[in-house]
């Protein structure tokens, strides 16, 4: 078992994060007792971030003390693993759906470094009071204007800080070729970011890609 990033462990094709709340299962994942504490299996079919790590992501901007703005947290599957990784920082979880909040709020209650916000990523002003001090953005929203949403939130980052953008091509246009859509989205993102790494999520997720972006000097 290798620790490939802080609190992220890999063994063969399986990925784990060190459980911030020992004994807690978030979505029915396996727990593993090791010499380094309790590990939580990170399912690449459920989480896009896990999928790209298994596919060999090199730039991993999540650090022990990262302060992450997580846009589109949904039920908190990936967000909980992010909170495992940033055990000295925190995760601000934003989602529009009040249905998702029913599960996200109890999850955030049990994890000291998570904070739930009901808000629309299209309007960063609505949740601005919570985002002071963040230094990383993770975005996974099912909206047709994904690149624009990231640019709208970009002012929260300093130059040189990172954003991870999940591109769901099926949410942008069902008919267009996914590769074309991803290319187009990356072009518009490059207005504010250097795109450092792009990885498609096959075979774990169809028609998805994940891009690691670094904020440009503005």
């Amino acid at each position: 078992m290798n620790e490939i990033f802080h609190n992220v462990f890999r063994e063969g094709n399986k990925l784990y994060t060190k459980n911030l709340v020992p004994g807690q299962r978030v979505y029915g994942e396996k727990l593993l007792e090791t010499g380094r504490g309790e590990l939580r299996e990170w399912n690449p079919n459920r989480s896009k971030l896990a999928a790209v790590i298994l596919k060999g992501l090199k730039t991993f901007p999540l650090k022990q003390d990262s302060k992450v703005l997580y846009l589109g947290a949904a039920q908190g599957t990936t967000a909980s693993h992010v909170s495992d990784v940033v055990d000295k920082g925190y995760v601000i979880c934003v989602d529009v759906s009040s249905k998702a909040m029913e599960e996200l709020i109890p999850l955030c209650e049990s994890r000291q470094n998570m904070l739930p916000v009901l808000g629309d990523a299209n309007r960063p002003g609505e949740y601005a009071k919570y985002t002071l001090g963040i230094n990383m953005i993770y975005q996974d929203v099912a909206q047709p204007n994904q690149a624009k949403i990231l640019l709208k939130n970009a002012s929260l980052l300093d130059p040189g800080e990172y954003a991870i953008l999940c591109i769901k091509s099926r949410s942008i246009d069902v008919a267009e070729d996914p590769k074309k859509i991803i290319k187009k989205e990356l072009e518009s993102v490059s207005d504010g970011f250097f795109v450092r790494e792009v990885i498609d999520l096959e075979p774990y997720h169809m028609d998805h890609a994940l891009a690691v972006c670094e904020k440009k000097l503005s």
């Binding site: 302060k67 909040m101 709020i105 904070l115 916000v117 002071l132 001090g133 300093d158």
Partner: protein, 286 residues
């Protein structure tokens, strides 16, 4: 730069911030749950499920009762009447014309009673019959609840969306809201989306594979669309979707009753469509 990145400072703030976030977020979720159109969405979905449940129960009771009196299924086609007769009269030897009369009228009552005497079904003991009768009662209850839900939806949509209700009737209005997710979402949709709401499968087939676009989704249930010739349905549903979209917008953002004007101008448009169609036909002869 505004961002404060002193770890200690931010961490101390974070606890307070977190408490505040919980309070506010829970409040906002609660506020959203209060929106009454959610209730209508739940009720519409409950109706569809109750319909399924009733059908399943009717099938089971028919199969089960056929041991005892197989001929009854052919004699009583209406499923609710079938359940009611079993519930009230129970066993075959009680199927007497005078008892049956209040359900089916004298002639059929006589036929049912006559067939009961020579039935090829087996005898059934009370213990077995009782279970089956209870199941029939459950089916009747499910149907009654469904009808009450329909009344409730009718009443509730009249309060929540008076304009939509006046145009489409409660049930169809509620179905549109349910499909859109909420009245707010329906109000913010363009008319072209409202037109094909409920025909998502056909719409995506159109976008992906280029088959002809769907003419209508849920609003197909509107009488004036069903009753029109196929060629005009597309035009009429486009006109209706436009008016429905205006009605939804008024219901969500405003509070005026504009249903009369909407219905009038829709009917004018339908007339024009029908006239246009007959003119074209006439044109050929000239």
């Amino acid at each position: 730069m505004l961002t404060v990145k002193n770890i200690m400072l931010v961490f101390m703030d974070f606890k307070k911030l977190r408490e505040k976030a919980f309070k506010e977020t829970i409040n906002e979720v609660r506020k959203e749950k209060k929106e009454t159109d959610n209730l209508v969405v739940q009720a519409v979905e409950a109706i569809d499920e109750l319909d399924d449940i009733t059908n399943i129960i009717v099938e089971r009771v028919k199969n089960w009762y056929a041991f005892h009196y197989p001929e009854l299924e052919k004699l009583v086609k209406d499923p609710m009447l079938y359940l009611l007769i079993i519930k009230e009269i129970k066993s075959r030897d009680q199927m007497l014309a005078e008892k049956l009369e209040r359900f089916v009228g004298p002639e059929r009552a006589k036929a049912i009673a006559e067939k009961a005497v020579g039935s090829m079904g087996a005898e059934i003991v009370d213990k077995d019959l009782q279970r089956l009768v209870h199941l029939a009662e459950l089916g009747i209850h499910a149907r009654q609840e469904r009808d009450e839900l329909a009344d409730y939806i009718e009443e509730r949509t009249k309060e929540i969306t008076p304009n939509l209700h006046a145009m489409l009737g409660g049930m169809l209005a509620a179905r549109l809201i349910a499909r859109a997710g909420s009245l707010e979402r329906l109000a913010k949709m363009p008319a072209s989306t409202v037109q094909v709401l409920g025909a998502e499968k056909a719409l995506f087939a159109h976008l992906r594979r280029g088959v002809p676009s769907p003419k209508h989704g849920l609003i197909f249930q509107f009488p004036q669309i069903i009753q029109s010739p196929k060629k005009q349905r597309g035009k009429i549903s486009r006109a209706l979707a436009g008016k429905v979209s205006i009605a939804a917008k008024e219901d969500f953002f405003g509070n005026k009753d504009i249903s009369k004007e909407l219905i009038q101008s829709f009917e004018k448009r339908v007339e024009a469509i029908k006239e246009g169609a007959s003119k074209k036909k006439g044109g050929k002869h000239e």
